[in-house]
Symmetry: C2
Subunit: 274 residues, 2 copies
């Protein structure tokens, strides 16, 4: 990763007049467009296949909107594609981008997946969990950039630098690994929160009581390596506790299995470290 | 859970003169004894089977210490047992507690496991991940209390209330479930952090970049239900991404399996909610 400290001669004034169209109006599009607009970028149009979804976001931004790919305005500077990966081909193949800069925000797809649609392509990947219900400040979100050319890379670095304090260039291969790591640290972690909430609920205990533990668990690895922060019965392979817990989870078959496999994984991980 | 708002006639002055001996000097004993001492309790002795470990903590507290169970001083008011569950029987059966109040801090063991050793028994269970390297403020830590009698319950409520703003009575059965939920929300979550750190390291990427995501993931469930906070490929069962990620993890066999089983669990969980 190259931490960016200086830029070439691209003019900020030019960038700030940049008109952006969003292809997609989901969680990511919603948060990214709002943050770009706050920094002075002009969001000119929002496309979404579901009209009310496009309309909702467009009204928030004061932009035009459409649910018809044929009506996507070509007179903009950057198209930001914020679709789920599986929708890329179907949607993008119907749009004439006029070789404008087309950028996607996917962790898993390489920049080259955009090559069929434009001669100017790039990636702007914000590493964060984004939901419509919860506004986040992009300043603290690491944003990773890639492009098909140095010129486009510099444009995207400039854009990213306007919204985030932590911007770096990262190639497609490394971004994929970063995305996988993020899935473990976010998607999977959140699922474990959901499981613990469900287990507590079965005995009428409020999820509220776990919140200080959840926060401290996250804060702890800001100071200690996760390996050094590990506590609990699995790391010392306390078989009595483990088997009594698995027995206690008999009404949650799937969670019995997860309890067992994650405990095993913790123990094996720490055996290797010894 | 009964949130405690009032007490019976136990005298605070009496409590503050209470002398406490710690059986065990690990992470929990270290943090709990320090916090009790800060609030004015007198930690009179620390026992640990490894002398330097007992000595370390005792010196921090200005207490006596021993590694010989036969030299544990009986002239105290409360014994706090902070041993791993599997060591309880071996250690406690060698001590004559003179029917003083004997309290353990285990999530999984019932209060009745102390009945063979004293007529006055209880549990003081702080719901937090405690490491020696990282001091935590007990004020924000929920502490759960149980005892063999109302009198002992009231003593422990009083003690707990001195160190924490969030104290409740919880029976052994519910405490066990709470402990299991905490293992998912802390031990297992921390292991996922460790996996993500290891995956990143394999491509030379610093764990640092994940920290804002980790913190936001934890903060998000302070506002939204974990189910509503869930994002990512598993919840929509995006098979292309999932299989491409599993393929990418080919050098981490164990993590391929975890990726697969947690993704399945997320998908099934959300299918049930529909």
């Amino acid at each position: 990763m190259n931490k960016i400290t200086s830029y070439d001669s691209i003019n900020l004034e030019y960038i700030m007049e940049t008109k952006i169209t969003f292809i997609g109006a989901g969680n990511l599009a919603s948060q990214l467009s709002t943050n770009l607009q706050k920094k002075g970028f002009k969001i000119s149009q929002v496309y979404n296949r579901t009209k009310p979804v496009a309309k909702d976001l467009a009204e928030k931004l004061g932009s035009k909107y459409t649910s018809d790919v044929k009506k996507i305005d070509r007179d903009v500077d950057i198209f930001i594609v914020a679709l789920k990966d599986s929708a890329f081909e179907e949607v993008l193949s119907q749009i004439n981008f006029n070789n404008k800069l087309v950028v996607h925000c996917s962790g898993s797809l390489p920049v080259s997946c955009l090559y069929p649609y434009s001669e100017n392509t790039g990636v702007l990947y914000p590493l964060q969990t984004l939901s419509k219900q919860r506004e986040v400040d992009f300043n603290n979100i690491p944003v990773f950039v890639e492009a098909n050319s140095i010129k486009n890379e510099n444009i995207l670095l400039k854009v990213a630098d306007e919204i985030s304090d932590s911007v770096a260039v990262l190639n497609s291969e490394k971004r994929k690994i970063l995305h996988i790591a993020a899935i473990f640290a976010n998607n999977f972690v959140n699922h474990l929160y959901a499981i613990s909430a469900e287990i507590l609920k079965s005995k009428g205990i409020s999820f509220e009581v776990l919140k200080p533990l959840i926060l401290e668990t996250a804060l702890k690895v800001h100071e200690l390596d996760p390996e050094k922060a590990q506590t609990g019965p699995a790391v010392r392979f306390d078989e009595n506790i483990i088997s009594s817990h698995i027995n206690e989870l008999k009404n949650f078959c799937n969670y019995q299995e997860l309890y067992n496999s994650i405990s095993k994984s913790i123990f094996e991980h720490h055996q290797q470290l010894k």
